[in-house]
């Protein structure tokens, strides 16, 4: 029995940021959870602490809960009165203060209460497992492991799992399966070493980078520039990241590591008194959450301030000189660049990559675990060993040797060979044994990234590609910049349908970009507008409508599988799918009004078709139209798959995958299920409220304008939208076909795209990324 | 119709232009000649002999010595009581006096008459001669100036009119004659000269060009031009060149000496009023546009012509 089915109720002890966050994520997966904390110092509500934590989470942004419904699954209580309820739970997570004595005391009480075989895991980030279970019975030791989540638990996909020597494989397996399938985490098996993998390397990296910046006299802007994008590190860079994580956290991490790391660990060389950091913390400059840290924004002069490493004082941020040509994309060039750039890059990379290489076999068994930990825990674009491959196999070792520094064993083993390679379509990594082993995905995980290694796409063009993902299912992948949708995508859809009809069973629309699709390629559209190519624009609009309708009525099932943003045209393609398997973190919505346009590829028609079948709405054509009008005119975007269901972008029957890595497999399964005896849907007919309905909508908009919520031009856009949703001139009695609806969409779209005020909105969005409120 | 004619004279003889005026006046009616001046008996006598002059009026007064319009006009206006028309030659004096008379008579003058087509109908040039208008006057009396070249000259002898002395209001004291200077002004500039003498390649060299062309030009008070061939041959400086690639001229009289008349030269002078050509080749193209042609050796003809002017 997989963990997903075995764990039907979870208890989380400790309602701090991490505990509450973990509880919320369990609830997001639809699993009831008991959240306990200590009694409040005063006040008569004994469960106040846990309750307070849940209340706080409902207001935090980004939100821990995926929907209001999820919040209802959290039952609160305290460890004095309700600890016995832990017996009802199949998994107990301990996320209390990092004090060994307090933890051991809690375990002792738990041991007495919990059912044998119920897993107990600690979220500790600093205390070794053996210490935790010291003094516990054999059963408890079998049921005990470490599940180290990352903050914020909903969004960070890394979980480091440490099994004790006595931990029962079944118990651990059930927890690992649960956190994978239900909580959407990628499990990285970790050894019981201080700081585990991510923090162990991450903290060392930050310390080395800060020290090197000070020692080599760089400004923080230069350090963030050199140590940021070129090394695949998020563009915040080092000092930006410390501000993000919290300057006050640094000393804590240093203290815990220095107390637990084995003597002689290179980390000790980085520890030095940091009067500036202490002064910053003392004066409240703890980072982004506070008044700022190394960077700050001076509201008076509206300028970005940076701290001078020498004086510790703030000064205006100075944009560093551009990096020498060629160093931005080539690590070898970066580390050998002249002057400050090369020196700083080598100091950081030389030490950190060397440190990571030394830890293979110490903190984890193989390089893949370490790379996954850094990529998912610290948002590195490339893991340490991928960076070594980019630097050039053997380069790191050669230079370390040249400088008389110790060359890590794994580097010696690798010699000139890269750590990763592709062999017969399989992705392999270099083991500590010197041989290449296949990278093994967890059971049931199917990734397009792997399929791509195995062969060529069935068909492909500039903006899309079609892949055979096995068992008669093909996947349509958007490949354009930011997965934007354009004429090429529509053309490929046109080619796909006969091809699938002939040789395959079902189609999945899926890709592994950071966002499913932000919609139509606004840049191309704006260019067409600027050269007044109105007939081309009309052709593209109709082309999109026809392609999506072809998908809808294709003689085989089409399953949309979004993850991340699915906006505008990206949302409309989902609305035409027979079914959707969405990743939990999908943000779906029709946002065209933000740039002065309206959904032109069938979005309006589909949304009305959905909402009029919604049992919760009163009868008659107006309620559905009003609801859809509100959603589209305000460009509402669902903040999770769950909320997308509430807003009607997803059908009640559509599926949600918590783990991004399993999305393709789930979507494929759903598609195959639909394939048996599949019948394309019947074209809907529409009875719309006509002129009367439009008047009502226009009145509503006037109201918003009066309250200053809507701008004058919002009114014009809303009016064009209302023309579609209310059927334009058609009066109540006329029946409108789907084709009529699409024609209304085209008419309104062309009217708006020709309006200079819409053009100004599109242009503003393209130039600044922010909407223009004209 | 009784016609009073203004006589241009130098106290001794009558100017040619007046003879043409007399012919014109004769076509209107009986001609009475008015001779005004100081010590103008000789002129009056000469006037009396002009064929076609029925009577001569003589106004001898210091005031009329230089035909100052301010003095002469009142005299004429007074006399015009007995006459129906006043005719003056279109000379600088005629053009100076006649309009003043017309104004005092409240009559609209007809200037530069080319022909008389009826008792009150005349033709006259407008737009610098590019349009010939036939006009008819509705005034009781007539005041005309007539163009000398348009009427034949009356015979200077053969007439024997009586001379009657008349007198006018004398010196109006408005205008005072200071002096006259009939000597030649220095050579006029090609662009605005009234008469131009041009030499061509036939002039052999600069010195010959100097000896033949310049004396004739001085005599005629004319500007000097040259064909491109003459300029290119260095007879004269560049800015003498008349023609499509030099200066475009339209003088009253253009004398082309030893110029064949290439199309490019004609382009520069074809708008001249009167073209005179002297060339030994009678088939030279210049003769097709010349009003007056003289065929022969220019080295003989030109010095002779200069001598006789």
């Amino acid at each position: 029995m997989s963990g997903a089915d075995a764990i039907r109720k979870v208890c989380v002890i400790g309602a701090g940021t991490m505990g509450a966050g973990i509880a919320a994520q369990v609830a997001n997966a639809g699993i009831p959870v008991l959240l306990l904390d200590i009694l409040p110092r005063e006040g008569d509500d004994r469960d106040a602490v846990a309750k307070g934590a849940v209340a706080k989470m409902l207001k935090t942004d980004p939100a821990p809960f995926m929907s209001k419904a999820a919040a209802k699954l959290v039952e609160t209580g305290n460890i004095e009165d309700h600890l016995d309820k832990a017996a009802e739970c199949d998994w107990i997570v301990e996320a209390i203060v990092e004090r060994l004595d307090i933890k051991q005391a809690l375990y002792a009480r738990l041991e007495a209460v919990k059912r044998p075989g119920t897993a107990v895991s600690s979220n500790t980030s600093t205390i070794p497992l053996n210490a935790l279970v010291d003094g516990r019975g054999e059963q408890f030791r079998k049921d005990f492991l470490i599940t180290h989540f990352f903050n914020p638990p909903r969004y960070m996909r890394l979980i480091e799992i440490v099994r004790g020597t006595e931990t029962d494989a079944g118990v651990a397996g059930r927890v690992e399966d649960f956190v994978d399938r239900m909580l959407g985490k990628r499990v990285v098996p970790t050894k019981d070493t201080p700081g585990f993998i991510a923090n162990r390397i991450g903290t060392y990296w930050l310390a080395v980078a800060v020290n090197a910046a000070i020692d080599q006299g760089l400004t923080i802007e230069e350090a963030d520039q050199i140590g940021g994008k070129p090394m695949g590190v998020p563009k915040t860079g080092i000092f930006g990241l410390i501000d993000l994580v919290g300057v006050d956290l640094m000393p804590l991490l240093t203290k815990s590591l220095t107390s637990t790391l084995p003597a002689g660990d290179p980390y000790f060389d980085t520890v030095r008194p940091m009067p500036m950091v202490d002064a910053m913390i003392a004066s409240g400059y703890t980072g982004r959450k506070g008044k700022g840290g190394f960077y700050a924004f001076d509201k008076a002069t509206k300028t970005k301030q940076s701290r001078d490493l020498a004086t510790g004082e703030f000064r205006a941020t100075i944009k560093p000189a551009p990096l020498p040509p060629g160093t931005e994309k080539d690590l070898a060039a970066l580390v050998s660049a002249p002057g400050k750039v090369g020196a700083y890059a080598w100091e950081v990379l030389g030490k950190v990559l060397g440190y990571a290489a030394d830890l293979v076999g110490v903190v984890a068994d193989d390089v893949v675990a370490i790379d996954d930990a850094m990529k998912l825990g610290y948002n590195w674009q490339y893991g340490p060993f991928e960076l070594i491959d980019r630097l050039g196999p053997g380069q790191l070792a050669a230079r370390l040797a040249a400088e008389g520094r110790k060359v890590p064993v794994i580097l010696q083993t690798a010699g000139e060979r890269p750590f990763y390679r592709v062999e017969e379509g399989k992705r392999q990594f270099l083991g500590t044994d010197g041989a290449y082993h296949d990278v093994v995905r967890p059971a049931g995980v199917l990734l397009l990234e792997d399929i791509k290694l195995a062969g060529k796409p069935i068909i492909k063009n500039g903006s899309a590609a079609l892949w055979d993902v096995g068992d008669g299912v093909v996947a349509l992948e958007f490949t354009g910049k930011m997965n934007a949708l354009d004429a090429d995508v529509m053309a490929l859809i046109g080619q796909t349908i006969p091809l699938v009809q002939e040789k395959y069973k079902a189609l999945v629309i899926y890709n592994e970009g950071s966002n499913f699709s932000a919609g139509a390629n606004l840049g191309l559209a704006m260019f067409a507008v600027n050269i007044a190519a109105w007939s081309e624009i009309e052709k593209l609009t109709k082309g999109g409508q026809d392609a999506y309708l072809a998908l809808k009525y294709a003689p085989f099932p089409v399953v949309g599988a979004p993850a991340g943003l699915a906006l505008g045209g990206g949302c409309e393609v989902l609305l035409h799918s027979d079914a959707i398997q969405a990743h939990a973190e999908s943000y779906i919505g029709l946002v065209e009004c933000g740039v002065g346009l309206i959904p032109g590829w069938g979005g309006c028609g589909e949304m009305i078709d959905r909402w009029r079948h919604n049992p919760m709405l009163p009868k008659g054509p107006m309620p559905a139209v009003a609801k859809v009008f509100e959603l589209i005119s305000t460009a509402t975007v669902a903040k999770s798959a769950a909320e997308a269901k509430e807003l009607g972008f997803l059908r009640p029957t559509d599926g949600v995958s918590m783990n991004r890595d399993r999305l393709l497999a789930d979507a494929k399964a759903r598609a195959l299920a639909l394939a048996e005896g599949y019948e394309p849907p019947q074209p809907p007919e529409f009875r719309l409220p006509g002129a009367g309905g439009k008047a009502a909508l226009t009145l509503a908009v006037k109201g918003f304008q009066a309250q200053g919520l809507a701008t004058p031009y919002d009114g014009v856009v809303a009016d064009a939208l209302a023309d579609i949703l209310t059927g334009g001139e058609a009066d109540l009695v006329d029946v409108l076909t789907e084709a009529d609806m699409r024609a209304l969409e085209r008419q309104s779209f062309m009217k708006l795209v020709r309006d200079p005020r819409s053009q100004a909105r599109v242009e503003h969005m393209l130039e600044t990324g922010k909407p223009l409120r004209n | 119709m009784n016609v009073l004619v203004w006589v241009e004279h130098d106290n001794a003889s009558v100017k040619d232009a007046t003879l043409a005026a007399v012919t014109a006046a004769g076509q209107l009616g009986e001609v009475t000649a008015l001779v005004a001046g100081a010590g103008c008996d000789g002129a009056a006598a000469a006037a009396a002999q002009i064929a076609g002059v029925a009577k001569v009026l003589k106004a001898d007064d210091a005031a009329y010595a230089h035909a100052l319009a301010e003095n002469v006009a009142p005299l004429i206006v007074a006399l015009m009581a007995d006459y129906d028309a006043f005719v003056a030659p279109a000379t600088s004096h005629g053009k100076n006096v006649a309009p003043r008379v017309a104004a005092l008579l409240d009559v609209m003058q007809v200037s530069e008459v080319l022909s008389i087509d009826g008792p009150k109908t005349f033709t006259r040039p407008t737009y610098a001669g590019n349009a010939i208008a036939t006009v008819e006057s509705s005034d009781a009396k007539l005041v005309l100036t007539v163009r000398g070249t348009a009427f034949a000259k009356a015979a200077a002898t053969g007439g024997s009119a009586g001379i009657e002395a008349v007198s006018g209001t004398g010196d109006a004291g408005l205008s005072h004659f200071v002096g006259a200077e009939i000597a030649k002004s220095e050579r006029p500039e090609l662009g605005s000269a009234k008469v131009i003498v041009s030499g061509g390649r036939a002039l052999k060299d600069a010195q010959t060009f100097q000896d033949v062309i310049f004396p004739l030009a001085d005599k005629l008070g004319a500007g000097v031009g040259a064909s491109r061939a003459a300029v290119d041959a260095g007879y004269v400086p560049n800015d003498y060149q008349v023609g499509q690639t030099g200066k475009i001229v339209a003088p009253e009289v253009y004398v082309a000496v030893g110029i064949s008349g290439a199309i490019q030269h004609l382009a520069g002078m074809k708008d001249s009023k009167t073209i005179i050509a002297i060339n030994k080749d009678e088939d030279a193209p210049i003769f097709q546009v010349a009003d007056i042609g003289l065929v022969g050796d220019l080295f003989a003809l030109v010095p002779e012509l200069t001598g006789k002017l």
Partner: protein, 596 residues
Amino acid sequence: MQVYDAPLRDMRFVLNELYSDDGFGALPIHAEFTPDLTDAILEEAAKFCREVLLPLNRPGDEEGCHLENGVVRTPAGFIEAYKAFAEGGWTSLASSPEWGGQGVPEAVGKLVEEMICSANLSFGLYPGLTHGAVCAIEGHASDALKAAYLPKLVSGEWAGTMCLTEPHCGTDLGLLRTRAVPQDDGSYKVSGAKIFISAGEHDLTGNIVHLVLARLPDAPPGIKGISLFLVPKFLPKEDGTPGPRNGVTCAAIEHKMGLKASATCQMLFDNATGWLVGEPHKGMAAMFTMMNAERLSVGIQGLGVGEAAYQSAVWYAKDRLQGRSLAGAKYPDKPADPIIVHPDVRRMLMTMRAYNEGCRALSGWVARALDAEAHSPDPEVRKRASDFVALMTPVVKALFTDLASDSANLAIQCYGGHGYIRESGVEQYARDARITMIYEGTNGVQALDLVGRKLGANMGRYLRSFFHPVSQFIEENNVDGPMKPMVEGLARAFGALQLSTATIAQRGMKDPEEAGAASADYLRLLGLVAMGYCFAKSTKIAGLKLFFGAEDKAFYDAKIKTATYFFERILPQATASFLAIKAGKTSMMALADDAF
């Protein structure tokens, strides 16, 4: 021979009738420039050009300039002409009243500039360069420098030059080597050699103010390290009159194919005293602010010569009798018909006429945009106008100068053998026009500027300022009636332009060479469509005026006939350009370098 009488009627049409509705709106600062005033200005300028400048054009070409121990003697008559030109206030035409200028709008100023270029292009360069210097100083110099130099430059008492090119660098100014060493009194010592400096040295004014691009000691490499300096020939004394001679000498004057009366000098700066204009290392920025107006002026130079060539050819075609009309003798009384009766001669004349009227209409539109960009009270209009100027400047510069050279050659062709003879004066036009295709950025550079920078900028925002008015005109006038065939012709060419634009944008993103390969054809295509649009608008206006009984019917009738000729005989070139663009770069780039 050289014949020129300013085409005032067509100029008034462009100024007062063609763009009454161009969307840039009225400009309050130019309210006083009503038609009666602008007519008076144009007439007086035309008279001055015909009577003073034209007569000096051919003699100036024959005599040329002469350098005698550092002093350049301009041809006879130039000194007097320049004095009359300055006293007439013509040097101050377009400058701002703040410095003694007349503040005449560009829409009028460019027409006067055209006349000057038609009458005597070489002469026009002297005040032209001074105007360039005035713009640079007005835009970027310190108040002290402005006060010391602007009044005398605007009045024409002093002249100005732009010293950019050096022996080893013209288009690529990044390689510039002239040095400027700061002195403690705030001035600089400038040393270096400059070539191709128009009006670098001459005898027309009491002083010459050189604007010199040079490098400061700490200048970064390349184009980003160039600064601008003001270096006078004579250092002004306290009272502002020319004082001691500065370290600026004319080493030699170039012996050129044309523009012979314009002294093009090799200048030597030997520790000459100069002052910084604008910010250190920001010299190129100072150049860019006036580059659009300067490039339009070079286009106008081309148009001017093209008009003079055309009028000279028309004069000859009516005067020259040769052969009989194919349709039977048209002037039986004459020994032969004037060659204007022959179709092929007409082809040449009509082509020149269409080029001139088309370019004049287009330059009127750009000039109005220059005015709107500088003076419109509405920021939206200013933005749209500056987009339009940015887009059309390279088109105007390259198209006008290309067509001008074509016209000058056609004029020679009309003269037949005589055209090849110097005295006819027509071949001078071909020699003078030729440089305009090269300096102020070669026409190849202009085409690249259009396709490389302007086409794709801001997703094609610049294009909108041209494409939308044209598209709207086509939609509004594509109705049955006299305009139909013309509007359909325009629509076809416009469609080809749209397709080419999209093709280049797409291909150019992946492969810049594709954009480069299409640049010249694209510039010509855009130019043809722009001229077509102007002709179509002119035809519509002319048709309306004829319908409502305008008094000068002949002008409007001729305008429609010329427009029709353009649509039937010249606009079809657009299809050729479109097909060339569609073909892409392959055949152009296929042959290996050493295979040439």
